[in-house]
Symmetry: D3
Subunit: 285 residues, 6 copies
Amino acid sequence: MFTHVHELQFEAKPDAPDPAFARRFQEVLGGKWGEMTVAMQYLYQGWNCRLPGKYKDMLLDIGTEELAHVEMITTMIGRLLDAAPMSEDDAKGKTLKAEWATSNPQHQLETGGGGYPKDSNGVPWSGAFVTASGNLYADFMLNATAEMQGRLQVARLYHMTDDKGVHNLIRFLLTRDHMHQMMWLRAVEELKADGLDQVPVPAAFDLDQEHDEFARLYVHTSDGPNAMDGAWAQGEAYDGSGPITIEETPRAHGDRPSLPPGDPRLYGTPPVDPQTLLQRAKDLL
Amino acid sequence: MFTHVHELQFEAKPDAPDPAFARRFQEVLGGKWGEMTVAMQYLYQGWNCRLPGKYKDMLLDIGTEELAHVEMITTMIGRLLDAAPMSEDDAKGKTLKAEWATSNPQHQLETGGGGYPKDSNGVPWSGAFVTASGNLYADFMLNATAEMQGRLQVARLYHMTDDKGVHNLIRFLLTRDHMHQMMWLRAVEELKADGLDQVPVPAAFDLDQEHDEFARLYVHTSDGPNAMDGAWAQGEAYDGSGPITIEETPRAHGDRPSLPPGDPRLYGTPPVDPQTLLQRAKDLL
Amino acid sequence: MFTHVHELQFEAKPDAPDPAFARRFQEVLGGKWGEMTVAMQYLYQGWNCRLPGKYKDMLLDIGTEELAHVEMITTMIGRLLDAAPMSEDDAKGKTLKAEWATSNPQHQLETGGGGYPKDSNGVPWSGAFVTASGNLYADFMLNATAEMQGRLQVARLYHMTDDKGVHNLIRFLLTRDHMHQMMWLRAVEELKADGLDQVPVPAAFDLDQEHDEFARLYVHTSDGPNAMDGAWAQGEAYDGSGPITIEETPRAHGDRPSLPPGDPRLYGTPPVDPQTLLQRAKDLL
Amino acid sequence: MFTHVHELQFEAKPDAPDPAFARRFQEVLGGKWGEMTVAMQYLYQGWNCRLPGKYKDMLLDIGTEELAHVEMITTMIGRLLDAAPMSEDDAKGKTLKAEWATSNPQHQLETGGGGYPKDSNGVPWSGAFVTASGNLYADFMLNATAEMQGRLQVARLYHMTDDKGVHNLIRFLLTRDHMHQMMWLRAVEELKADGLDQVPVPAAFDLDQEHDEFARLYVHTSDGPNAMDGAWAQGEAYDGSGPITIEETPRAHGDRPSLPPGDPRLYGTPPVDPQTLLQRAKDLL
Amino acid sequence: MFTHVHELQFEAKPDAPDPAFARRFQEVLGGKWGEMTVAMQYLYQGWNCRLPGKYKDMLLDIGTEELAHVEMITTMIGRLLDAAPMSEDDAKGKTLKAEWATSNPQHQLETGGGGYPKDSNGVPWSGAFVTASGNLYADFMLNATAEMQGRLQVARLYHMTDDKGVHNLIRFLLTRDHMHQMMWLRAVEELKADGLDQVPVPAAFDLDQEHDEFARLYVHTSDGPNAMDGAWAQGEAYDGSGPITIEETPRAHGDRPSLPPGDPRLYGTPPVDPQTLLQRAKDLL
Amino acid sequence: MFTHVHELQFEAKPDAPDPAFARRFQEVLGGKWGEMTVAMQYLYQGWNCRLPGKYKDMLLDIGTEELAHVEMITTMIGRLLDAAPMSEDDAKGKTLKAEWATSNPQHQLETGGGGYPKDSNGVPWSGAFVTASGNLYADFMLNATAEMQGRLQVARLYHMTDDKGVHNLIRFLLTRDHMHQMMWLRAVEELKADGLDQVPVPAAFDLDQEHDEFARLYVHTSDGPNAMDGAWAQGEAYDGSGPITIEETPRAHGDRPSLPPGDPRLYGTPPVDPQTLLQRAKDLL
């Protein structure tokens, strides 16, 4: 259960409106790697966590904080949209004129000057962006990634404006994305130390079931000359199970597939005599 | 540029048809973490890579291999759909009867007995599943995650069938997802060793711009009693920049936001005297 | 069954082309609250209506009229796109130059100069926008809302152009959205008067099943000081069933949830001894 | 800014697992009219509200409560998924056998036994479901509708299970949807009483701009004999502006549209001599 | 402008309810190749047609007829949903028991027993399914295809039920899809005869701009031994412009691409000395 | 199984960056008719093809070639995005200034300067764009159409830039789309010649099942005076089965539909006495 205070976690005041930047800022609100995604992802992971204790508790802590980030960015976008021109004529003689062309029409038509759960092109946020698999190792890795992708986008946004107030919030977001990267990476280490999982994830699946001849095989399917210069294609495998080998020329280990004739009632193009088939299909009616 | 051979990378022959499993197998073909995603993700990352050499070459190697995985699973699904009942009556007295209820109607109506780029509920694969950010550290972390989420789903699928032929292919997929996990994790290490990036990603953004008071602060927004028992909330921060501190009771560091009255031409509910506003809006017409 | 005449319900002739406005006009054609939505929503509600007579007949009347609105806006968009510049150079020295930057590229690439069922950012109209629940009270309330949201957007569009011809059609749309608001609100009243439903919708569900202690309880989860100044938090409840009470400090009425360990075959992170679990999962293979 | 407690607002414990019902319960979690929608919709409306005071404060109260509903339903779904069969064989001899056929495969493959932001068919929740227009009248009407549609779906769910624990939570949801219906309807009345808006919404748009001849005209486009028996087609209009009139046979008030020839560079099918056009297009190259 | 009569174009009465078939029938209502698509596609093509006369008039004729098909299928689905069981218990002892497992939960939860614009898996119809390109040749070819794909799906549906009433409607749909296939193919021929377009579409683009060495070249990128046995790889090209030639071993005609270093403000992984780059990015702040 | 070489099938080098054109070029990469669609469509058709031999082999040839087109356009977009301005200020004094306004923000925020599988408005490519029906006639017709729609869009793109390098690639694409149109049309002819299918597709469905009175009937539902001037409404039908007839005034051949009262547990608006119904629903609880 949640409670809310009106004060923001951090200040969200631009020095001046900027509808073009408002459009761009939507990316880290409602884009695939935006705050909607991390807030919902961590909360669903927390709610679904079947391991009581520190991991579950931490997930709900960070997820709840991310809701505050959704709130701050939405507030900032609302302020960036003040006084936005509604037409080219309206923009004339205003410093915001050029802004008109590159702003998001729905910021006026749909929201009347507010942020919403869509990306920088106005494509709606999708519930498919949330992953809560029940496996904490795989999910914490994704969470660390999400903070990296998110921080990367915020760092790019930094260079799309000179507004001191916007920079102030961006600097806060960069800081928290930094902290959260560290937390998720630590949590991955702790899962390993606690013996809960390890590479290959999920470790509980019996490795004897794997086809060992493909387990450390680098398959060189493209002709890039340097592909095997990295540690991923040399020496001992990451899990210490043996040496990596190379399939220099990729080989097919399976047959040419041939599918049997389909059910005539599906009217696929027949691999058998069509007259016969025609008759069979008609007979069925 | 690509070339293709008809032989499969590995065998994809079930012992018997199973339309219910065919529906489930779609998840690792056209779901968010399926083979369509990793094939396209690695290829786009490779094509967009602005750093010539080993990383780019490796991306295109693995991406090209994943296309072969798309092909194998599609072939397997086609074979699993042979002889699927078309109605309840049709299913009577067949071993496939129960299958009818839990199969995917589009496997007959749309594809006439074949795999397609949709998930296990028939929701289409989306280009939004692909991330190619230009930052290899963030992307390799995601790739490692994708192999974990993918291997997790394939491991779950293992228990949804007893078919030896299907198990054989699943065991191959588990093996390759294992190998690929190791490769992406090694590649992350190598990026660090090559001095190309590090936590916090992207490292090239000047850390002095961050708000240091929030840089190692654990914010305890939920009341889980064990949230701070993990290494993520204790001792030195992951990047060695100083000790983690705790905000036991979360504090707001910003004001209560108040948005100015909107443009009357947007017809939002007005914070000023409505009669005045009404008149102003009318005057504008 | 439908018949069609080529004449439009109302004139749809702009004074001059305006590709930037054409992009914006798409919102009320193919956006969530656009004419595609109301046309399809009213028709599906009409076709699915299980109560013969005035309500069903009226739904089909208005739904059929909305198809004419789809047609008029599409026609207007086609005319607004005449002579649109195809590149920046092409736009030079034309009054339409600035338009180029803010127009929709698909209006040339995809439609060759015509309207289509997408919104002002080019996001496709979705069948999920249509609601036809079978409950006329809930649906008529939604229909009234749709006319309000639609009229709001059209009113905003009015200020995005000075074109007299466009204004003429916009004024027609505003007029009909006004008329339709009145019709749906009357229809809601009539449903009540006819004894067919009432608040709480659906009224046929036995109120004794409700938890009475929560039935008139205002829960103050946020710290806004004025939240309880409205009639919604004071005096008798809207349905006359008793006085509203306040939960000033929100209380949890349920336990801390704890989920049992998952099936080991799902490879979630285990709440039991991992070695044991590992063994159990392996034994299963 | 939000804080969270682990205790639930209300109990969410089923008497027994039921994966088939878990699939159905997703509708009111991640469907168009589910708790994700109302939580996000009220919060965005609150954050974007430009009128400080009671309305904004109330929006944030109810939005924050709805987050607790998201949490309860997710928890319930997690519990309903315990011990779900993973295959037909697995289901044999269990009371859950029939459940297998009608459950959601992603409840195992993707979430490992947990709720997620998708609907009862596994279609992801969309940010497009959220409307926050800046006009409180239109939005409160939608909110009232959302509570009606939501309560209707919960009432239907009641009859899809006999589980006492599930019924207990459903009864709580029905109760709160009842309370919230009353609150939004009161809020609409209060907006009117406060002179902030009225029918036609938005009232601030100058009515003189409307085409009065269409302002109270019922257009009888379908041949339903009873369409005009309702109050919507008789007597004084809802806003008291005059009597309703009927267009018994719908008339076109516009011309047959004729679009000019397109730009030859768009290669539409030409309305002029094709040879001439062919030459013109070639000349352009 | 449209008018509507309540009578259906053809009878839509099943002999008995069948919720499982109702789910499947949705495919040809709201699927990619369903009646929603063809109705909207032909109408948008007609409205956008810039060539007055027979083609435009015919498009609006067929588009309007397709609206009647939407209506009939929706009506049929409503009737198929009568008396559908709401739970497994409810289904006991009824002939509809097995139906329960394979029906669509939204047919009860969302529509209360009616058809809606979604496909057989409940995925919403999308405006992206509509193509109206302005080029009649390309569009008529698509329309012919749509009638083929649609007729194929209806033919498959025929075998999913024995219901005489459903068969009666299906036979009507098959008949009209047959007629419409013939009409669109005739229309393609007439466009050619009228000199309006021809292969390659669009013919107005100057063929001299093409790279002639690739204009009749069959590229053998896969190792299928029979690929070149067809007329597509032999003799004179379809347009009579010369003989087809074969590139037996596919050759690259372009260089290995190498992208320049990205803007350091985008924080991509750098192809230049990272320390230098780090400094440059910091200097920018 | 695939292999890859780094060299491109054709050169993809622009003379100069152009982010506005990069946005537009996305349409033929990730739009409905773009290279992602044809590559995936032909490969899935090939993999699912149940008729071994020339058709299957040819599908895999062309599908594999289309992957090279995806690669070339992605490469071209990456190069067009070099040096793109990140803000209005940044654009000042640069020839790329105007470009800023009409570029795609995600080309910087999401991809850091690269192409991705979305259309020219940033809407993700969808797996629903792929059709592989199992019926080669219907699919080859669609493939021919796809090449026409694709070539049409590329021809339009030609006029959106003067860049010689871009033109060079566009000319290659136009050439291959021309060749592929010819191949698919030949393949349709060959299917007919081989007796595998014919109009009406699918021909194997027994024509005696059709309602002959509707099989050659032109239904004149719209009042366009020239609709019946085409060959589609005159003389012998396309398949030679008899003369076309005209239904000048469209007639309903079915009854006015009337749906029975719904299940009271669905709480639809009742067609029977509401008090009775209310009681029945309550009794059920």
